[in-house]
Amino acid sequence: MFRVILYSQWKWSRLIVLLGSVAGFALPLISVHGAARADSSPLQAPELLHAVQSWGVLYPVLAATLGLLVAMASWTPDHRGRHVYALVLPVPRWRYVLLRFGAGALLLAAPITAVLVGALAVLVAFAVFFAVSAGTARTAGIVLALIGGVMLVQVITNVARVDLDLVGKLQLLVLNWPGPLAIFTGRWMLIDV
């Protein structure tokens, strides 16, 4: 029963859920991107926090918009049918309402998760930044080893006259949006702590 309700609501809400998920994922990333300075000079931590905070108002706006649209979409099939078929289904009305509510809540899980992932990305960004800036020998060694390994492969392929721009491709793939490390292209890597 829940499965078919969920499916019918998915058909009405899928665009909202998908756009909401994208927005939910993008918002934390954009808020970090927005902290970058035009002159590429190093950012101070308070500046970064202020920049991220200034985007904070969009989270409740996004939540309210998503909640509103998904709630509307939950009842749209019934409103379209003037509730006739909904009310002649052989289930108590309170149960039917719970089924619709549950399906809507489950559909919202996607954008909620996206926001969490986005928020997590912010946290990861912060964590990586702090790790690199803290500059422990071990961290620096791992990072350098990884970079060195890639460079070594690149050099070897160049010597072997293999047409492979490994560094360039990796850079494009990883650092450009929507690459998983695109968040690191912000200037916040240069924050002084």
Partner: protein, 298 residues
């Protein structure tokens, strides 16, 4: 005989002008009950009250022995309903619509639903919103029948459908009824359609039930009588006098119901004679009934 639908002294009001007042209605188990009435007379409202979609102000409604609205959820599991308008989800395909309803009805008959879908030539992957009016009508009937209900409540199920689709829909309905001995309550203003297969008839006008009789009695009992002379009263008549009008010349024309041939002796008195008994078909009878009902109130 027990009644599949039993309504007693039902009252409902919508706005200032529309009212259902003291409605009594009895649909015997296994009957095909035609619920006739002009547009706006309260047929759909009565059906909505029966199915618990509206709350009555007063009165008692029982479907299949259980009270509405108290036991409405369990009752609805045994009732197939075809509403007046195509109210199914327009975003679901035919297949998805069937799957949706199958999940709610424990008695849903999947093989039969599939057979009906093929018989009705309904495209599996077509959205309900993109089906033609005839296809929508067929799908709604399919949804109602595949539940294998004990009672079918049909609110003008063939209204606006072309004759071919109407025949398909009604054939499927009659096939089911003959197999299952289900009760059918079918509302319509298409008198000829009901005349073909209903065995009971109820006529409603202006929120009131004018008459509720077996179809044969209504069909055979409504007559127009040409009478010579002018009887003073019809107080002791063995039939029900619905209307009397002066005819050309000295006589009168009477419209009566519950007429039987032996009643012609009623006119054997001095100065009065029965000249002719004219049969009325159901539609004429229906129109005359409405005219009579409205006449004294106008």
């Amino acid at each position: 005989m027990t009644n599949a639908i039993e309504i007693q002294r039902l009252c409902y009001r919508a706005g200032r002008t529309f009212e259902i007042k003291d409605l009594d209605l009895h649909v015997p188990q296994g009957a095909i009950y035609g619920f006739l009435g002009p547009n706006g007379c309260g047929k759909t409202t009565t059906i909505r009250l029966m199915l618990g979609l509206l709350r009555p102000l007063a009165g008692r409604i029982e479907l299949l022995g259980s009270a509405v609205p108290r036991d409405v959820a369990s009752i609805l599991a045994r009732v197939g309903f075809v509403p007046e308008q195509p109210h199914l989800d327009p975003m679901l395909t035919v297949r998805e619509t069937l799957a949706f309803h199958a999940a709610f009805y424990p008695t849903w008959d999947r093989p039969w639903a599939e057979r009906l879908r093929a018989q009705f030539e309904l495209p599996d992957d077509q959205l309900f919103g993109r089906l033609s009016k005839g296809q929508k009508g067929k799908l709604m009937m399919l949804v109602a029948l595949a539940q294998r209900p004990e009672l079918l409540v049909l609110d003008e199920p063939t209204d606006g459908l072309d004759p071919v689709v109407r025949r398909d829909v009604l054939s499927a309905l009659l096939e089911y009824v003959s197999q299952r001995q289900a009760t059918v309550f079918i509302s319509s203003h298409l008198v000829h359609e009901l005349e073909r297969f209903c065995d009971w008839i109820g006529v409603m006008d202006d929120g009131r039930l004018i008459i509720e009789v077996p179809m044969e009695r209504l069909k055979n009992g409504i007559k127009r009588l040409r009478i010579g002379g002018t009887p003073a009263t019809a107080d002791n008549a063995p039939f029900v006098l619905l209307a009397r009008e002066p005819a050309n010349g000295s006589g009168e024309t009477w419209l009566v119901r519950e007429w039987e041939p032996h009643m012609a002796t009623y006119f054997d008195g001095p100065g009065v004679s029965l000249h002719e008994v004219i049969d009325l078909d159901l539609e004429e009878g229906f129109v005359e009934l409405l005219r009579t009902f409205r006449g004294p109130r106008a």
